[in-house]
């Protein structure tokens, strides 16, 4: 963590940067945040004119990054869900409508006759129940896909875990445990397959080296299209 002295902002052209001064930094850096916010970090002893000149020089790069962000990050698509009858929820790439049903001895939440049925008496913690339902259904599904790809990718099956992973779809620990975000089960099956294959290849190749992509391409020749789809549409889920 760098020591922040003061924070203010500067405007260059039509770009607005949050300016952070730091005692520890040796160089000026520009970051385009996940939500498109621009952050300029500079060493404390750097004159303001120099910072401005560097930002000016890097304007083209910033615009390219922002254009990319605009394509990939669309928060309006991932509006938070309301748990009322008729709201739609994803499962394996398809939409299912929610139906609030009166309390009974049925399970809290179930997918039946093309509808998610949520009992009205547990309505107050619906998000929790959905997360739990997705996690439960993701585990066997992912386990089966891991099994299908394990031989093909020459890895021995290991433990998988479905949990909250923040901004990542999946991860692979050095011990060979595969972690998947519970949200992966919302995606269409062929995209989930890409995430599974991607994490399995990480057991051979820890980094995204050329060898990593070569190995992935060997088993999944169209991985690039699936990856692109995920980058462009992943935020919808």
């Amino acid at each position: 963590m760098s020591v922040l002295e003061a924070t203010d902002s500067i405007t260059i052209g039509d770009l607005n940067f949050v300016l952070r001064w730091s005692d520890r930094r040796k160089t000026v850096g520009i970051t385009v945040d996940r939500d498109g916010k621009l952050v300029l970090t500079a060493p404390s002893d750097c004159p303001l004119e120099l910072v401005e000149r560097i930002a000016e020089e890097k304007r083209f790069w910033v615009y390219t990054k922002l254009a990319e962000k605009e394509l990939l990050f669309r928060p309006e698509l991932s509006l938070s869900k309301e748990f009322v009858t008729g709201e739609s929820f994803y499962y394996l790439g398809r939409n299912y409508r929610l139906l609030i049903v009166s309390p009974s001895n049925q399970p809290d939440l179930r997918l039946q006759q093309g509808r998610f049925m949520l009992r009205s008496d547990i309505h107050h913690c619906a998000q929790h129940h959905f997360t739990q339902w997705y996690t439960q259904h993701a585990e066997p599904w992912l386990q089966r896909r891991v099994g299908l790809f394990a031989d093909r990718l020459e890895v021995t099956p290991m433990r998988i875990q479905v949990r909250e992973l923040g901004f990542r779809w999946g991860s692979c620990s050095s011990g060979g445990t595969l972690n998947f975000h519970w949200r992966t089960i919302l995606l269409p099956p062929r995209i989930i397959e890409y995430i599974v294959a991607h994490e399995l290849v990480h057991i051979h190749e820890p980094w995204h080296s050329p060898a990593f992509w070569r190995r992935l391409e060997r088993a999944m020749p169209d991985f690039a299209q699936r990856r692109q789809w995920l980058a462009e549409n992943g935020c919808r889920f």
């Binding site: 031989d151 093909r152 990718l153 070569r214 391409e217 060997r218 020749p221 299209q225």
Partner: protein
């Protein structure tokens, strides 16, 4: 040219630049360069390097070059000769690896073994490496299988590698693999002839599926390895595309 305060360091900069260039040439590592140096300093160093008899624009000599022997002999010590041959061979193997994984893997293992065996014995190491380099230059020799070493033998190589990996006694003999390889390569040739084959995922999946069934029908590879081996064979076909269709 540099400012007077920098003059005392000019000589060191030149020597550093020279060592850098020689090391980059020896290790075939383009990452070894002085990008950090300013334009004037780089020009100064480049002039010095040219004056020392190395042209920065000419890439290091390849093992396939007819003058390779002469270039090695020009090195003063046995150690330098061995090092030149070692790194030229390493580079050659890593460049061509995709074209015939089984053969180049064996070469790479042989090279490591030679280096291990003649550790510190430079004169003998030079002799062993000369012999090795000669073999590398010849390429995969045509053997008693009668297969074309440039197109068919690499596929057989992968299948034979699998034969060695199998834990249980394999039901298929080496001799039986030869006609299978011929048939396999012939089929692959016909399939990849399709326009834009390598951009057509479906066609590639069909080919992989065909190979899996082919290997299964002839018991060439144990069941749980068939998919992985097929993927490797298709990958090899991609690397050899132009050669197969020539």
């Amino acid at each position: 040219m540099p400012r007077p305060e920098a003059l005392p360091y000019a000589r060191d900069a030149k020597i550093l630049g020279y060592i850098n260039k020689v090391a980059a040439n020896l290790y075939r590592d383009s990452q070894l360069n002085l990008v950090g140096a300013g334009q004037k300093v780089r020009q100064l160093i480049d002039e010095y390097i040219v004056a020392s008899g190395i042209d920065p624009k000419v890439p290091p000599i390849s093992i396939m070059d007819t003058d390779f022997e002469a270039a090695v002999s020009a090195r003063a010590s046995a150690r330098a000769k061995a090092s030149e041959m070692e790194h030229a061979a390493r580079y050659h193997i890593s460049k061509r690896f995709q074209e015939d994984p089984a053969y180049y893997k064996k070469l790479s293992e042989r090279l490591e073994e030679i280096l291990e065996r003649f550790q510190d014995n430079w004169a003998e190491l030079v002799n062993a490496l000369r012999q090795f380099v000669h073999e590398v230059r010849e390429g995969r020799p045509s053997d008693q299988t009668g297969l074309d070493p440039r197109t068919q033998a690499p596929f057989l190589g992968i299948l034979v590698e699998e034969l060695g990996k199998a834990e249980t006694a394999s039901p298929i003999s080496l001799d039986a693999l030869i006609p299978l390889t011929v048939e396999l390569v012939e089929h692959i040739r016909q399939e990849i002839r399709t326009v834009d084959f390598w951009r057509n995922t479906h066609a590639q999946n069909v080919l992989t599926g065909w190979i899996v069934r082919f290997l299964d029908d002839h018991d060439a590879v144990p069941f749980n390895r068939q998919q992985a081996v097929s993927d490797r064979l298709v990958e090899l076909a991609k690397a050899l595309h132009t050669r197969l269709l020539a």
